[in-house]
């Protein structure tokens, strides 16, 4: 199956037009985001990549209603981000696993389910299913501090998936992990995306990670944070880590790197 361009028949999940966000600070306004236009369709895997301070995390937080834009428009599933959040439209995976140390792994995954008022039977069924999905079956009764960083992050992904949102927002989820664990989790994430057909928006500052995972790569550059380039990937949907050696992969990676370099030279 080939990835389809967002414009055609695919339903639009996130629609951003002329969006800007300015933080008022004591040193004057900081233009975190300026003039962002972006349309993300159902089933896409879109990565935001850029140097630190380019606003990639801020943009993700605007989608999640964790920040309010100061200009332009944004809709998530056809609603405002606030309405979408109240409808639990998305699962958010943070840079840190942010698991509660007093809850077992199973209970951490059950946290959003409890908040949403699901029955005990429903909860335990979903815990089992999602722990299986992230290969954590058997660790239900462990506490987060008894697990490695990679396992903790997998648990936090299972937590974000537990209430079955169609949209997954991930903010550098593997940034703190070593490269081998990161490769492994990238492969697992791709399989998961393929299996569930969810829409994923993924923030990273690693070029190989962005190219390996995405159907579309959005390159941002700083001051003010804006989109520099949008790169469609024509890599096949079921990829293995070997694909990183292929000329197609290297070509896309090269274009991303060019974009990053051009955007970065701006402020030096």
């Amino acid at each position: 199956m080939q990835p389809q361009p967002a414009e055609e028949t695919v339903r639009s999940v996130i629609d951003i037009a002329k969006l800007s966000l300015t933080f008022e600070t004591n040193d004057g306004p900081v233009h975190a985001l300026a003039d962002i236009d972006l349309d993300i369709g159902e089933g896409e895997f879109v990565s935001f990549i850029g140097p630190s301070g380019c606003g990639k995390t801020t943009l993700l937080r605007v989608i999640a209603d964790l920040e309010k834009p100061t200009g332009g428009s944004i809709s998530v599933n056809g609603m405002t981000p606030d309405e979408a959040r109240l409808k639990r439209a998305y699962g958010y995976v943070f840079q840190a696993a942010a698991l509660y140390p007093w809850r077992t792994i199973a209970d951490n995954i059950a946290l959003p389910l409890e908040i949403m008022g699901m029955s005990r039977a429903e909860r335990s069924e979903r815990i089992a299913r999602n722990m299986e999905l992230v290969n954590l079956a058997g660790f239900e009764r462990k506490y987060p501090w008894q697990l490695s960083g990679g396992m903790q992050q997998r648990a936090s992904i299972a937590r974000a998936l537990s209430f079955d949102p169609d949209l997954l927002l991930m903010d550098e989820p593997f940034g703190a992990l070593d490269e081998i664990v990161r490769d492994h989790l990238n492969e697992q994430l791709l399989k998961l995306w393929d299996k569930t057909n969810k829409t994923v928006v993924f923030v990273t500052h690693s070029i190989p990670e962005a190219v390996f995972l995405s159907t579309r790569i959005v390159v941002l550059c700083p001051r003010p944070g804006r989109i520099y380039d949008v790169i469609e990937s024509d890599l096949p949907r079921d990829r293995t880590l070997d694909i990183r050696e292929s000329p197609e992969f290297l070509k896309i990676a090269h274009r991303v790197r060019e974009g990053l370099r051009a955007g970065h030279s701006y402020d030096d």
Binding site: A64, L66, R85, F94, A98, Y100, W102, P112, I115, W145
Partner: protein, 385 residues
């Protein structure tokens, strides 16, 4: 089973010096006593039990110093030897208050050195069995405590310190045994009524006000500074006023305890409720959790280490508050009343007996709170070890 025949570990320099010194002192003092018993001013050799204990101490010390003895044997031998010597010395000196001579003190030093060596060997024991491990970690402070009492007893009796200044622990003990009814009534009045009721009300109201302050922003800015002021009120000044307001009986003492315990609980809970970091707040926000859910599922568990801190601080504050408050007017019962009146009547042993009961009750109370804390905040890095 633990291997009793653990090989003898190398002795530390301190242990070597201490054992050599103690052995030397023991042998020298005994030789002098044999040559000229009168010169040591005590009938050392005339007392068979002491002679036996001294002989045993010399043998044990020599074995410890020169033979390769396993740790467990060293602990048991030195411990038993030190207590045998100490108690025969106490038995010897009791009818001869103030008559202790150089020989007596030499043997006290030998017994103390043996106890030191015993504790040092115990501390170096690291049994794998968790039960034995707990036993050892209990035995070490216990040995310390008992030796504090032994030295207190020996010094007070040996130097004939006036009873009014400091009674020996044996008399305090006899007083404890002689008047359990009075002490129990005092305990009931002060601890079970004043302390516990005041503590419960003070901590609970501090906690509830903290939840309220957290919810209503203007209260935080208006109430916290006033709470600060209340906490700075000197208890000595407040206690007589509380007695005027609430009468002589326990309610006025509970009121003082409430004033003392309220503020630590308020401040700690408010701090604890702010302990969750941004990412955890964001997480609850993405789940569209309401205020109550965020409070119950995230912020209160997060605040538990702070809340238990307040509970522990308050457990000791409450006892101090209740006892001091009783100095300012009370029915003729209560630990504070007992202490203040018995000091006036020069019954210092009764004062110390009350202090002992208060110390024991306070430690047990604190220990109980700390135990609950370990169960509740098992996840906290300071507990999970």
């Amino acid at each position: 089973m633990m291997s009793v025949a653990q090989p003898a570990a190398p002795k530390t320099p301190v242990a070597r010096i201490l054992s050599t010194g103690a052995l030397g002192v023991a042998v020298a003092a005994s030789l002098l006593a044999v040559i000229d018993g009168e010169s040591l001013e005590l009938y050392l050799i005339d007392t068979p039990s002491l002679a036996l204990a001294v002989g045993a101490a010399i043998v044990l010390l020599a074995a410890y110093r020169f033979a390769r003895v396993g740790r467990v044997y060293a602990c048991l031998g030195l411990g038993a030897g030190s207590y045998a010597l100490a108690f025969s010395l106490i038995a010897l000196i009791t009818p001869h208050t103030g008559d202790a001579g150089a020989g007596f003190w030499a043997y006290v030093v030998v017994a103390w050195a043996m106890a030191w060596l015993c504790v040092e060997e115990m501390a170096a024991l690291e049994p794998r069995d968790p039960m034995l491990r707990r036993l050892v970690s209990l035995a070490i402070p216990l040995t310390f405590g008992i030796w504090l009492l032994i030295l207190w007893q020996v010094l007070v009796v040996g130097f004939a310190v006036p009873r009014v200044l400091l009674p020996p622990p044996s008399e305090v003990w006899l007083r404890l045994l002689a008047s359990p009814e009075v002490l129990w009534k005092d305990f009931q009045q002060t601890f079970l009524k004043g302390v516990l009721i005041g503590y419960a009300i003070g901590c609970a109201s501090g906690f509830l006000i903290a939840i309220l302050v957290d919810r209503v922003p203007f209260l935080r800015r208006g109430l916290l500074p006033i709470g600060n002021l209340v906490s700075a009120l000197p208890i000595i000044g407040v206690a007589p006023i509380m007695v005027m307001w609430f009468g002589f009986d326990w309610p006025s003492k509970a009121a003082v305890v409430i004033i003392m315990t309220f503020f630590p609980m308020l401040v700690n809970t408010v701090t604890g409720l702010a302990a969750a970091d941004r990412i955890q707040h964001d997480l609850m926000h993405t789940y569209a959790a309401d205020h109550r859910q965020t409070l119950v599922k995230m912020r209160l568990p997060m605040a538990m280490p702070f809340i238990f801190n307040a509970l522990k601080i308050n457990s000791t504050l409450a006892l101090i508050g209740a006892i001091v408050a009783e100095f300012f007017g009370t029915p003729i019962v209560g630990m504070g009343f007992r202490i203040s009146t018995e000091v006036g009547r020069m019954n210092i042993d009764m004062v110390w007996a009350s202090i002992a009961v208060a110390a024991l009750a306070g430690s047990l109370f604190y220990g109980l709170v700390a135990l609950v804390e370990r169960v509740v905040t098992f996840w906290h890095p300071s507990v999970r070890g």
